[in-house]
Structure formats: C-alpha cells, structure tokens
Amino acid sequence: MSRKAAMGGARQPVGGATTTTTTTSTISTEDMCPVCKTIRYLNKDMEFLINPECYHSMCSNCVNRLFNDGPNQCPYAGCNKTLRRKGFRSAFFGDLGVEREVDIRRRVAAVFNQGEDDFETTTDYNNYLQMVEDLTFDLVFGTDRKRQEAEATLQRWEAEHTAQIEQNRRQGREADEMARRRLRAEKDAARLRRIEAVREAEEEKRERALTREAELDSIAQAPEGQGSSRVQLKRRGLAAAAGVNSAAPVATAAATDVGKLSIRGLKEKKKAVVHEGPYDPFGGLDFTPSRYRLGPDLKHQRIEDLRATMRYNPGGFRFEDWTAQLMFEAFAGLGVFVEDEKEVGIGLEAGRVASIGAGIAAVGDRMELD
C-alpha cells in the first residue's frame, strides 16, 4: 500500500483529463479524487484506479459506486467512453502517459512477435523493427487519423497472421519455461553443493578430532621418548588433501545430476555430431601403388648382390621394402608436370590456358618488340 501511495505522489493529469486541475492549490490532485472530491485526509486508504479505455483516474469508492451496476459512461466531463468495472486496475507508473504507452507497446509486441531467426537477413529484421516502432509511435503519439490508421494496420496484421503469432507466442513461452527450469536446476545444484560442502567440513572436523584423539592415545601409550617425535606428524594436511580428492567427484556428480553444466546467458545450441573416423597421420595420402604392381618377380642384380652380403641381412632389414621404394621412386611424380602446375595450378594444362590468353600475350610481345 505504501508503494502505491508513493507512486500516487508522482501522479499527474493525463492529456485529455485537464478538467481535474481546477482544484484549489492547497490540495493537490494526487490527494483528491477528481470525481467525488474526497481528500486523502478523510480516507487514508484511498486508492486510485484507472481504466485503459481512457486512463482517467478515480478513487476505488467512485469506481464501485458508478460501475457496480454495469457499464457506465466515464464521469469525466467531455469523455464519453463507456467503462466497465472489470477494466479498472491500479496504475503501475505514476505517469499515466507512460502507463498508456507501456500498455500499447505490450499489445503491439504481442502481435508483432517475430524474432531475428525468422528473417533472412539482418537488414530485413531491422526494417521490420523499424516498421513496428513507427506503428507504435503512431499509436502512442500520433494524431487521431494516424492512430486510426495504425490501429487498422495492427488489427489487419493480427487477423492475417493469427497462426504464426500463436506459434511464436508458444515458442517464446517454451523458451521462458526452459530458462526458468535451467535457473531452477542451477539453484538446486548450488544448494546441493553447499550442503555437500557443509557436510564435508563437518566430516573433516570430526575426522580431525578423531585422529587427534587417536594420536593422543597412542602417544600416551607409547614408550618413553618415542611419542614426542610422532606429535609433529602433520595429519591435518594429509586429511585435507584426501578431503579435496573425495569432495571433487561428489560435486561434479551433483552438477551432472541436475543437467549439463550451464553458463548463464549462453544460447543453447545443439551441435550435430560429425563422425570423423579414426585419425589419419598421413593426411589422407594413399599408399597403394596405382601405376605399378609389386611382387616377387621384381629382380635387380644389385639387390641380389646385397642379399648375398652379410652386412645387409640383419633382422628388420627387408629387401621387399627396398624394392617397393625403388618402384615408388621410378613412378612417383610421373604425372607431375611442373611447368603447367607452377604456372596455372594442378590439373590444368598450360597450353590450354595459354591459348585462351594468346591474344593478350601476343599484344604484349609485340609491344615489347617495339
């Protein structure tokens, strides 16, 4: 109640309701109902209500009095809107102009509820936003004619795009729901972590007490002279280290229980898992010969000579590998035409490219000759 009173203090007459300013200067309009002239002094709990039809404010007593029996005309002089009891509510903003604008904006936003994803390009989206803003401005501040036009546009749009609007609204609601759920999950996780941490701390404390007891006992029972050296054992550090180790998995388990680890404000995107296959250290190079065959029928005198040499017959040295290397070198790069490839790129032929640009080249040569 006190909040509303404070807001009432900032209340000002709305355009169109100028008749209320004709009261005496000692009593401000905020403290006096413009309809029944009751002042706050007489009724401490006085509450002002408005109807979004015309935004004329009046006290709750007046509303009850005038509209309990059904729809009635607005009591303000010159305002001939028909108001209903149901439509009255207390204003959130002190400035009723702002209140009205917010209402209009809310209504427009409910109709024009497209998101950026619905558009092909950012420019399209920006244009759409501009259009909506123009329309809103016309509705809020425009002249009567403009306002009517904007109203017509709004209604037409609503009629034409009912299904889409409904769908977007549903989506928005779902997103809201999701965000809320995530927030809740986070909160739960945090709570669990806190509880876990408290439990850990207690456990550790108890452990420490226990070990201390045990230590003291053992020192007391130990023979003379041996006990004192054991006092210096730093059990505490060991226990702490063990505690950290045991606490970490618990915490992560708690986090995974309530869902994935989430960072606030991050867009949730589902990444398609691309199966890349096993890692290839050779970067896709093919090692099967395409121009020659390997086989035992490949013979060379030099290899036969070496085969007979003791030096070249240790374990791990294979003449087949050497043969394969020789054959590879004989045929590697046979189809690599350096001139073509360095000039015009792999797989193209310099001659063909040259013939295309022959005219230009010829002109260039002639110029050089000149």
């Binding site: 190079l285 093919d286 090692f287 099967t288 010969p289 395409s290 121009r291 020659y292 086989g295 029928d297 490949l298 013979k299 060379h300 005198q301 030099r302 043969t323 290397q325 020789l326 054959m327 590879f328 070198e329 004989a330 045929f331 590697a332 790069g333 046979l334 189809g335 690599v336 035409f337 350096v338 001139e339 073509d340 360095k342 000039e343 792999i346 797989g347 032929e349 310099a350």
Partner: protein, 406 residues
C-alpha cells in the same frame, strides 16, 4: 590423382624447388638485379669513405665509375662451370654419386636466389660438397675434408654452411633419379622378352647420363626425378622407355566410352567422357591422355639433357681452350664486380657473429656484469681462448667497423 604423384607433391623438392622456366628466369633476373643494386651501393659508399684512411689501396684510387656487372646469362654460364667444378671435386674425393649429385643441386639452388657476384663460388663449391655429405648421411671429419682439397683452415667451409642452409630454405632432401632407375629396370625385366644385355647396357649408360647431364642443366628444377630418369633412359635406349610407358599407361576405356578417347588413338585427345567415376579415375592415372603428356614431358627433358651429354661436355668444361675463351673473361669480370662486403665468407661470418653478439649485449641491461661473469667462467673452465677475450675488447671499442647493416 595418382597416389604416387600426390606423395611426390608433398616433398620439399616439389613445394620449394620446382619452377617453371619462366619462374626460374624471373628469379634469376631478380637476384641479379638485387645484387647489382646492393653491390653498387656498397662500392660507392666504401669509395666515399676510403680516401681518408686507405688512399694507398690499389683498386680504390678514386674510381667513381662502377664496374661492368655480369648479366643473368653470364651468371648462368659461370654457375654451370662451377657445378662442373663441384662434380670434379666430388670425383677427386671419391664420393658416392648421390653425394656429388646432391652437392651439385645444392650449388645450383644456392645461386638461384643469390647472385654469383655476391658470394664467392670458389668457396661455395666446398661448402656445398661438405653439406651434401652430411645430407646424404656420410659424416666426414671437417679437418680431413679440408685436407683433401689442400686447405689448411676448415673455417672458411664452416663459415658458409649456415648461409647455404638458409639459401636452401632448409630443404636438405634432394630426390635423385638413381634409385628410380633401378626401379625402372626391374619393371622392364618383368615385362619380359627383352634381352638382358640390352637392359644392362641401357642402365649403365643412363646412370652415366644421370650423374652428369641433369646436374649441369636445370632439369632438377623443371622435371620430377622419374621424368629425368626416363629421359636419360630414352637417351640410352629409346625403345625401352616406349615399352615401359606402354606397359604402365595401359588403361583401355570400356567400349561404351569409345570415341575420341580410346587409348590407341594418339594426339591430344581430351580425357574420355564421364561415365563411371572409377573407370574415369583410372583413365586419368594410366590412360592414353596422360600417357601422351608424359611422353611429351620426357621428350622435352630429353632435349634438355642432350645439351650436356657426359662425354663431350666433360671434356668441354675441363678443356683449357674453352676455359680461356669463354670463362676467363667472365672470371675477370666477376673479380671486378664482387661484393666488397661478402666476397670473403670467413670475414663475413665473423662480422655477423660479432654483430649478433653486440646486439645481444646491448639488449641486456646488465651486459657489463654478464661479460665479466663470462670472462670469469672462461678463466675457471679454461675454455675461453685468448682470441675470444681479445675480440670482446675490440668489439667494445668498435661499434660497427664496416658501417650499416648487412
């Protein structure tokens, strides 16, 4: 794309050191022009600064005119001559063919991006040979190596080593056609019906060619090892190569795609029309179209190799007459237009290290302390020679004795 070609395209020889003739010519012209510009600049600046201190130097007697520089063609001729020197040095030391070939290729690659006027070819001959030994996993003692070539001091060889590595862009693996030749011979034997003696003779001759001709030409830049090998083999025995090619590119298109693409038809037929991808793949790898292209490439390579056939040319490069007629004037010219800063590799190396050291010292805040600590360490461990301490002293006094960055 054939699997073998894809693998060859991964090699540094293809990626870094294969050029089309136009590209190679452009590169050589560019390095020639760059060398000209930088050498003339250095000569002018040294002439301007010299009269005060070294007026009595014989060649510095106020010659504002620049010497005549070598043209790219003359440079290429000199590089080829020195390549023959590399091979001769390798023969003298009795190294394997692969080592000699690697050295020659290193040498030619070095002088693609560097001008022969900038770095002295005489020194680089030994540097490339030494590095080629290491690249081919033959680890020789540098002292013995220097002795073999009558050098007392091995430092000049070591001085150029990093320079060479840089110029090679650290691509030490040279793919040679020697092993490929053995593979081709094995494939020929498998075809059958060829006289064994004929194959042996051809192999012997092709190997001889491979040890000389491709190294003296630009074949390694323009062709792949297998193409070079087949070109050499065809110089030895053309029939064998034709048989081998026919056996390799044997793909016959299925009858449905007959037409201009049938393999037995020669000429520049386009690849057979698209029918089923597998057959088409095969056609692009071992079909008629690619066969003709390979044959054309081998023919071009063969032409290139035939310009430097071993017997005639070896005598040509070794003969005194040719030397006097063609090379002596060029060498004279070269002596005149050497880079004054870089003609001495040892000096250059020393200076570069000096600079690096000075830079490192000035970069450190506590350079003084560190220097002192170093000297102390040296005294303790006894490995800091007198030369080192001396150099340190000199380095402090002289900021940059030759002025300007290298």
């Amino acid at each position: 794309m054939a699997a073998e070609d894809a693998r060859y395209r991964q090699s540094s020889q293809y990626r870094l050191w294969s050029f089309s003739p136009v590209e190679l010519a452009t590169l050589r012209e560019k390095s020639n022009a760059l060398a000209k510009a930088s050498i003339s600049e250095r000569m002018l600046s040294s002439n301007a600064s010299r009269p005060a201190s070294g007026a009595n130097t014989p060649d510095g007697d106020a010659t504002p005119t620049l010497p005549e520089f070598l043209t790219p063609t003359e440079e290429a001729l000199l590089v080829t001559f020195y390549t023959s020197e590399v091979l001769r040095a390798g023969n003298h030391a009795g190294y394997r063919d692969a080592i000699k070939a690697t050295a020659a290729v290193f040498f030619r690659r070095f002088y693609v991006t560097n001008s022969i006027m900038t770095y002295p070819p005489n020194d680089m001959v030994l540097v490339t040979l030494f590095l080629a030994n290491k690249a081919e996993a033959n680890f020789v003692n540098i002292g013995e190596f220097a002795n073999k070539f009558g050098k007392k001091n091995a430092e000049s060889i070591l001085a150029g080593e990093f320079l060479l590595c840089q110029a090679l862009r650290f691509a030490f693996d040279v793919k040679h056609p020697f092993r490929a030749l053995k593979g081709a011979v094995m494939a020929l034997r498998r075809i059958g019906g060829i006289d064994d003696k004929r194959i042996n003779a051809a192999e012997h001759r092709a190997h001889e060619i491979l040890c000389f001709s491709p190294l003296m030409t630009d074949a390694y830049f323009h062709y792949t090892p297998s193409q070079i090998m087949l070109a050499a083999l065809s110089l030895a025995d053309r029939g064998l190569v034709e048989q081998l090619i026919a056996d390799t590119f044997h793909h016959v298109s299925p009858p449905g795609t007959s037409g201009p693409g049938t393999p037995m038809e020669t000429g520049d037929a386009p690849p057979p029309p698209r029918r089923d991808t597998k057959s088409e793949d095969k056609a692009t790898i071992i079909g008629a179209w690619i066969r003709d292209k390979v044959l054309g490439t081998i023919e071009a390579c063969r032409d290139m190799l035939s310009k430097e056939l071993p017997e005639e040319r070896r005598e040509h490069w070794a003969s005194q007459d040719v030397f006097a007629a063609e090379l002596k004037p060029l060498r004279k010219k070269l002596n005149k237009c050497r880079d004054p800063d870089r003609s001495n590799l040892l000096e250059l190396h020393r200076r570069r290290r000096e600079q690096a050291r000075i830079k490192a010292e000035t970069e450190d805040d506590d350079a003084e302390d560190r220097g002192a600590a170093l000297a102390d360490d040296g005294a303790v461990f006894g490995d800091a020679g007198p030369r080192d301490t001396k150099r340190r002293k000199v380095g402090k006094g002289l900021e940059d004795p030759f002025g300007g960055p290298l």
